[in-house]
């Protein structure tokens, strides 16, 4: 009896959680299931919720529908370069703010922080005009260069660099280690967790970007995945299984990244939340 009384609330909790999880996961599960339907199954009504077999042909056919390989390749390239760029620029700026004394430090730091407060959409019209004036529309530069610096990344890394023990810095100075060497051979290796957080964060942000790629690309050759995937919806004539096979291909890298880097991502997202 006591055993049942102890187990019952737990069973209720699990039941509630299972229903909630099913509801949250449903759109993704539905995507996977539909991606595996045969064309005949996809046109059935009432809609089939589960495939009868593993029909993988969709994943091959979708490449003929839209150049999805090019979309994925473009986005990997753009997100990768932006990630590396943000790691370099942010860690350098963060080091200057954390460990160096220079004129105008407070003012510049305030300016950096201001860029976090102002919504990026406010600058989008002039940025579009700039990129167009430089002839960078529909090019990798246009997609990449505006995002190579990040005030969020600078702030995140500065907080981390400040936590490194001051004694380490003093000791390195005593040994005649200058800023550049201290930065490259001590700060960077010690900051791998924070750099990892920023890497995951900036990669995902770029992978998922929508408005900017929509504005600056117009040929299929330069499109990124998010624009590509929204092109799928307009292929009204094609069957749903192909569309969902495309979506599956697009969301798989992000899902893998979540499975591998959830901890890093959580740390990155909560850096602002937990400092209070």
């Amino acid at each position: 009896m006591t055993r049942i009384r102890k187990l019952l609330p737990e069973a209720v909790l699990y039941a509630v959680l299972a229903v909630c999880a099913l509801a949250v996961l449903y759109p993704v599960l539905y995507t996977f299931a539909t991606a595996l339907l045969t064309p005949a199954e996809a046109s059935e009504y009432p809609p089939r919720l589960f495939p009868r077999s593993f029909y993988l042909q969709n994943f091959i056919d979708v490449f003929g529908l839209v150049p999805i390989a090019a979309f994925i390749g473009n986005t990997f390239l753009v997100s990768g370069v932006v990630m590396i760029g943000q790691l370099v620029t942010s860690s350098m700026a963060a080091y200057a703010f954390a460990r160096m004394n220079f004129k105008g430090k407070n003012l510049l730091f305030a300016l950096f922080m201001a860029t976090m407060m102002i919504p990026w959409e406010v600058t989008i019209i002039p940025n579009y005009l700039t990129v167009r004036a430089w002839g960078w529309l529909d090019s990798y530069q246009g997609l990449i260069v505006p995002f190579l610096a990040a005030s969020f990344g600078t702030f995140l890394l500065r907080q981390f660099f400040m936590q490194l023990p001051a004694e380490l810095f003093e000791a390195a100075r005593m040994d005649g280690c200058g800023h550049v060497r201290y930065f490259v051979s001590h700060v960077i290796p010690l900051s791998r967790p924070a750099l990892g957080t920023l890497a995951v964060y900036s990669f995902l942000n770029m992978w998922n970007a929508y408005l900017w790629p929509l504005l600056v690309t117009n040929s299929d050759k330069m499109r990124t995945v998010q624009i590509g995937v929204s092109m799928l919806q307009f292929q009204e004539t094609t069957s749903w299984n192909l569309v969902f096979a495309g979506i599956t291909l697009v969301i798989l890298p992000s899902l893998l990244l979540l499975a591998l880097g959830l901890k890093q991502l959580v740390r990155g997202m909560t850096v602002g939340a937990l400092k209070g």
């Binding site: 019209i125 930065f183 979540l258 997202m269 937990l274 209070g276």
Partner: protein, 320 residues
């Protein structure tokens, strides 16, 4: 003594002493100067990029908002405040502001409440809880592009599974995205789902930051789960909730992708939120001046809302 002084080579005559002092201060200010140069070299790349892609555009937006442009973006003439006064006389823009506010009201409180309940339920160390944590965090990696397309199909009036499920429950089908009464609600449901992952992650890390002893002592004092939640967890979580409220309100005012994919502002402008309207004005109608004015209105609204939240909400926040 003499030997020691000699071995330390202390300067003995005043002239040499001054020379040494001069050289020392010289090198000191030289060091300072070198550090300044080095610091600016470290900051250089970021500063240059921010100057080109942030500070200059900010000023340019203000400049453009006071002018009209031709469709290529060249300034055609100075119009003063006309762009702004036109906006506030334009019923469509005012309707857009209302839609934007309604959208924030529909998405932010519901999303945070849902995420809070899920975070509280998965806060324990029961077996298998990690799986649920993964499930509830999952929407965080789905971009607005893919999420919108998935929901587009779920909302399909005849073939979508949402209406199919409703028919199983003998409920008449809803024309989700094409009915002006339902379109904003539909987009909001999708947005709540999409933001759930982020809000859940933030809230559960907030809950994890509350020390176990607090739960223990509350239980010893005989507090039930609801009292524990309302009287102890909520106040302790209030800094996190505050942060999340500010960030979510800002995020909801910046929504664009789901509107562009799901409804294109329609039907009958019922989902025409502010950023979509900026996009239309600047990049479909090529009126960069009036588009810039709208962008500044967006900035002003977000700025004021953030200030208000800091002034009003932060008083209720309990910092440990």
């Amino acid at each position: 003594m003499d030997g020691l002084e000699k071995s330390l080579s202390l300067p003995r005559d005043p002239v040499r002493a001054r020379a040494v002092r001069l050289r020392r201060t010289g090198t000191l200010s030289g060091l300072k100067w070198r550090e300044n140069v080095l610091a600016y070299a470290f900051l250089g790349p970021s500063l240059l990029l921010f100057a080109i892609f942030f500070f200059y555009p900010m000023l340019k937006t203000v400049y453009l908002s006071l002018h009209t442009t031709d469709p290529t973006g060249r300034v055609a003439g100075y119009v003063g405040w006309d762009n702004f006064s036109y906006l506030f006389r334009n019923p469509q823009f005012l309707q857009g502001l209302k839609v934007t506010a309604l959208f924030a009201l529909l998405t932010v409180p519901t999303g945070i409440a849902l995420a809070l309940v899920l975070a509280a339920l998965t806060n324990g160390k029961t077996r298998g809880i990690k799986l649920f944590q993964f499930a509830f965090s999952l929407p965080v990696v789905l971009s607005v592009g893919s999420a919108s397309v998935i929901w587009m199909f779920l909302y399909h009036p005849t073939l979508g599974t949402l209406n199919y499920f409703l028919s199983l429950l003998h409920i008449a089908p809803v024309s989700w995205l094409v009915d002006p009464k339902w379109a904003l609600v539909s987009v909001s449901i999708m947005t709540v789902w999409m933001n759930l992952g982020f809000q859940y992650i933030v809230l559960s890390s907030g809950l994890r930051g509350i020390p176990d002893e607090i739960y223990e002592s509350a239980r010893i004092d005989g507090a039930g789960p609801l009292r524990l939640f309302g009287r102890i967890l909520l106040p302790l979580l209030s800094p996190t909730l505050f942060f999340l409220a500010v960030v979510s309100v800002i995020g909801s005012f910046q929504s664009f992708g789901q509107i562009n994919i799901l409804t294109r502002g329609g039907p009958m402008n019922s989902t025409n939120v502010l950023v979509y309207s900026i996009y239309q004005e600047a990049f479909v109608n090529f009126r960069f001046g009036s588009g810039s004015a709208q962008a500044l209105v967006l900035f002003a609204i977000i700025f004021i809302l953030t200030l208000v939240q800091f002034a009003w909400l932060e008083k209720k926040v309990h910092y440990q």
